[in-house]
Structure formats: C-alpha cells, structure tokens
C-alpha cells in the first residue's frame, strides 16, 4: 500500500514537472529566460515562481468544487418553504458576503487554530497546534465562494419556469431525477456567466492567501523582489501570471458556454 502511494505520488510529480508551463521541458521560463533572474534552477527564481503558480491554480481548483457544492445546497435552502431554513441561510450569506475576504481568512486561520488548540488541550495534549495554510485558505475562500454562488444559482433557479417542475411530475419522475435531468442542465446554462465572474473573483482572491504564509504566486514573487531588489519586474510578472490565468479561464468559460448552448438553434 505504502509503495503504491509512493509510486502514485512520484507519477503525479513527474506529470506535474513535465507539463509545467513555466519550468517544464517546454516551459516559458526555460525556453526564453535562461541566464536571467527568471531561469529555472538554483540561480534564478523561475522554479520558485512556477511552484507558486502551481499552488495558486491548485488552491483555486480545489476551492471551486467545494464552493459549488455548498452554494448549490444553500441556493436550494433559500427557496425552501421552510422559514427557519431560509433564515439560517440568509444569515450565512449576509455574513460572508459582507466581510472582507482578508478578514474571513484571518478569522478562519486564527480562529480554527484557537479552536483546535482548545480541543487538543481538552484531550490532554499540550502543544502548539498549527493549521495548514492551504486548508485554511480553502475553507475561507470556499465559504465566501459558496455565499456568492448561492445568490447566482438562486437567481438562475428563479429564471426556470414552474412548468418545468410540473412537467417532471407529470412524467412521474422523482424529485432527484427531475432536478438532475430537467432542472440542472437549464440551471447551468443560465448560471454560467455569473459563475464565470465568481471564478475570476476566486482566482484573484487566492492572492490573499500569501498573507498567511502560503507560497503562492504573490508570496514567491514578493520574496524574489525582496532578495533581488527588482520589485517592479517581479510584481509585474505576478500581475502577468494572473492575467494569463484570467485569459485562460475566459477561454475555457466561453467554450463551456458554447457547449451548454449547443442544443439551441443556430442563429
């Protein structure tokens, strides 16, 4: 079992290094920046920045499904007939849409640490407990994302006429199947532009995680800037990398939109 895990992780890291767009065999930095401050290896900062790039993208990609999952169920709860459920979810979205993302991050990071510390002390363990910055970032960004996502999905739900649910009932489908086969495909089509905006916001919010010490793009370029005293170049590179991510995601989203609309008549 251990060997299998080791093999799997080495395979994953091999794949990651091969397709690394910055410092891989056909990476941008390796091809165009060798011999400069951005070269890959011990001399330049290319590999550190490439690592940060990977951390940023993986944080955003890990947060997305969590946020979507919770956002979907919060949206469902928001249109439930049950008053207490609506109230509870309204409190949730009010709080997490109103707080600055940075503050949410700090509250999650330090608050979880305190909670974990007290919990461990209750169990009789007297030592420092540290929360992983990646996990704290994932929780904080996921919570914020789910709050916004629920609003987007709620307005998408409202755009689907009642007749669609009634049609599902008339066909004798169960609730879950109605949702999956009839409502969800339409929901995705309506909500996709809003979700695209949220994804962009999420991508930008990941930069905040550098503050609690996660080595993402901003933190790595910041370290490089401090060491080399070339702050302008390195922060420009950070901006550029985020721009590249934004461009890539807008490409992906326009492809997705075309894909979800393939059933509509061509005009």
């Amino acid at each position: 079992m251990q060997a299998a895990f080791a093999a799997l992780s080495s395979l994953l890291s091999w794949i990651a290094t091969t397709i690394d767009p910055l410092c891989g065999p056909i990476g941008v930095f390796r091809l165009f920046a060798s011999g400069t401050l951005l070269s890959c290896g011990d001399v330049g900062w290319g590999d550190e920045i490439a690592f940060g790039f990977m951390i940023t993208t993986s944080l955003a990609l890990c947060t997305l499904p969590i946020g979507l999952f919770f956002g979907f169920f919060i949206a469902l709860a928001k249109q439930s007939e049950e008053k207490s459920l609506r109230l509870a979810t309204d409190i949730y979205t009010t709080i997490f849409r109103g707080l600055p993302e940075l503050l949410t991050l700090f509250i999650v990071y330090y608050g979880l640490q305190i909670l974990a510390q007290q919990f461990m002390a209750g169990l009789g363990y007297e030592g420092a407990v540290e929360i992983n910055a990646f996990v704290a970032g994932m929780i904080a960004l996921g919570v914020v994302f789910s709050a916004y996502c629920s609003e987007v999905l709620l307005s998408a739900f409202k755009a689907i006429p009642r007749g669609q649910y009634e049609a599902g009932d008339a066909l004798g489908l169960r609730r879950g199947r109605t949702m999956r086969l009839i409502i969800l495909p339409q929901l995705v089509r309506i909500a996709l532009p809003g979700l695209g905006n949220l994804w962009m916001a999420l991508l930008k919010d990941t930069a905040l995680v550098s503050v609690i010490g996660l080595p993402d793009i901003l933190r790595q370029t910041g370290i490089a800037a401090r060491v080399t005293k070339n702050a302008f170049e390195f922060f420009s590179i950070a901006c550029l990398l985020f721009l590249v991510l934004a461009m890539l995601s807008s490409l992906v989203f326009s492809a997705l939109e075309r894909w979800t609309k393939r059933s509509e008549a061509a005009r």
Partner: protein
C-alpha cells in the same frame, strides 16, 4: 319541493392540519441552532476575555481605523468615478487605437488582484526611486497611504468605466432614434434622455462596487496603512486576543449592511415610476 325551515347550526372550524415535521424543517432548525450556539459562544468568549483596559486602549484605535478606511474608499471612489468618464468614452469611441488602449487598461485592472496592483505600485515604484526623486514624486510614492489611494483609484476607475459603458449601451436604440426624430442635438439627447436612463441601470452595480471597495480596502493593512484592518492586526499582535477580529468583523458588517440598505432605499425611490 322541500326546503329548510331553519338555519343550519354553526359548525366548528375544521381541525387545523398539523404541520408535518419535514426534513427541511429539521435541517433548518438544526442550522439555526448552530448559528445560535455560535452567537452564544462568541458572546461568552467576549465576556470571558473582556477587559475594560483593552477597550479603552484599542477601541479608539479601531474607530480611527474605521475613519481611515472610509476616507480612503470615499476619495478613491469619487476620483475613480471622475477618471472613469474618459475611460468609458474611450471604450465606446470608434477610434480603434483609443478603444484598444482603454480595453487593455480595463482588462489589466480587472484581471489582476487588487493586492498585486498595490504591491506593484508601493514596492515596485520604489525601484525607480532616483527618477522619482528627480521629478519630485518620491514623497508621494514613499507614503503607503497615497500609494493605496492611487491603486484604488486606478482600480475602481476600470470597474466604474465598465459599469458606465454597460449602462449606456443598455439603453435601447429606439431612445436615440426617438430623440433624433424630435430634432434634439446629440449632446442634449445624451444628457437628458440617455444618461438618466443609464444611471438607473448603473445604480445597483455602483453600489456593489462601493461595497467591493470597502471590502477590498482591508488589504492596505499589509502595506502598513492603519485602516480598520491594520488597527485590528496591530491590536491582535499586541494582545493575542481573538476578539479584536470579531470587533472588526462586526464593524465591517455594519458598514456594508448600512450601505446595502441605503442603496436598496435609493433604488426603490428612483424607480417609483417603473413600478406597477
């Protein structure tokens, strides 16, 4: 033919159907219970670590930090609004070069995180210190507050330009044609017919943008501006008391909620004529 001679006696109301205890009700009650428990926990935590010295020592700091946040946001939103006018114009003009430049500007400021822009201006411009000193701009770029103001202004100008452009372009073509048919000059048509309708569309996005700026302004704490977040961080680093963050959270929530309700009221008031 038979008919009734007397009134039927009044019947008691049918028994009220008992509300079924559904799963959603259970979940709702449980989550409300969790919220209640969290609220009680926070109150207990604050009472537990309450001390009047901390409040008198750090309370005024937090309030002055609140003032810094509000001034920073209001100045940058107003300046950004002014800067957004030529930008929105440039985005909509037929001049290819101008509209491309404006597009690149907007894309850059909307596509990168505010915090990297802030670092780029605050730390990055420090690299050009000799040049900046030569043209006398170093005192401006040395001060974190001015750098934050510049960054926020440039950033919100990009967003506001997009809001303005979207709103102006959302006014239907018929309105332009109608004003042309009435023989109105283009300028008057724009200010009296197009712009008022566009501003109603733009109202809500503008409110959202101000809220985003208030929330986004928390990051200036990282470049040593003591706004609400900065003061909170300073107080936390001195006391290691977690309730400082809770106070800041409450203050931010109050600010955002006041603004949100104010905006809902304004919008309600301005769209009276559209309601039926």
């Amino acid at each position: 033919m038979s008919h009734r001679e007397t009134m039927l006696p009044a019947l008691p109301a049918p028994p009220e159907a008992a509300r079924r205890f559904t799963t959603s009700r259970l979940i709702g009650n449980v989550t409300l219970g969790i919220w209640l428990a969290a609220a009680i926990g926070i109150v207990l935590f604050i009472i537990d670590s309450w001390s009047i010295e901390k409040l008198t020592k750090y309370g005024p700091n937090l309030i002055s930090g609140l003032g810094v946040t509000l001034t920073l946001v209001s100045i940058s939103v107003v300046l950004g609004g002014i800067l957004s006018l030529p930008l929105a114009y440039a985005r909509m003009t037929k001049n290819k070069v101008l509209s491309w430049l404006a597009y690149i500007y907007v894309y850059f400021f909307r596509g990168t995180p505010l915090i990297t822009q802030l670092f780029l201006i605050y730390y990055g411009f420090g690299t050009f210190r000799p040049y900046l000193e030569a043209i006398g701009l170093w005192t401006f770029f040395r001060d974190a507050w001015f750098c934050a103001l510049l960054t926020f202004t440039l950033n919100t100008a990009a967003y506001q330009a997009e809001i303005l452009r979207g709103a102006i372009q959302s006014v239907p073509r018929g309105q332009h044609e109608g004003s042309a048919a009435l023989g109105l000059p283009r300028r008057i048509a724009f200010f009296k017919i197009i712009l008022p309708q566009a501003m109603i569309v733009a109202l809500r996005p503008y409110g959202n943008e101000i809220i985003l700026m208030i929330k986004g302004s928390a990051i200036v704490a990282i470049v040593t501006v003591f706004d609400l977040m900065g003061e909170t961080r300073r107080a936390f680093s001195r006391t290691y008391d977690f309730q400082m963050y809770l106070w800041a959270a409450i203050l931010y929530l109050i600010m955002v909620e006041i603004l949100r309700n104010l905006w809902a009221w304004i919008e309600n008031r301005l769209t009276r004529h559209l309601k039926r």
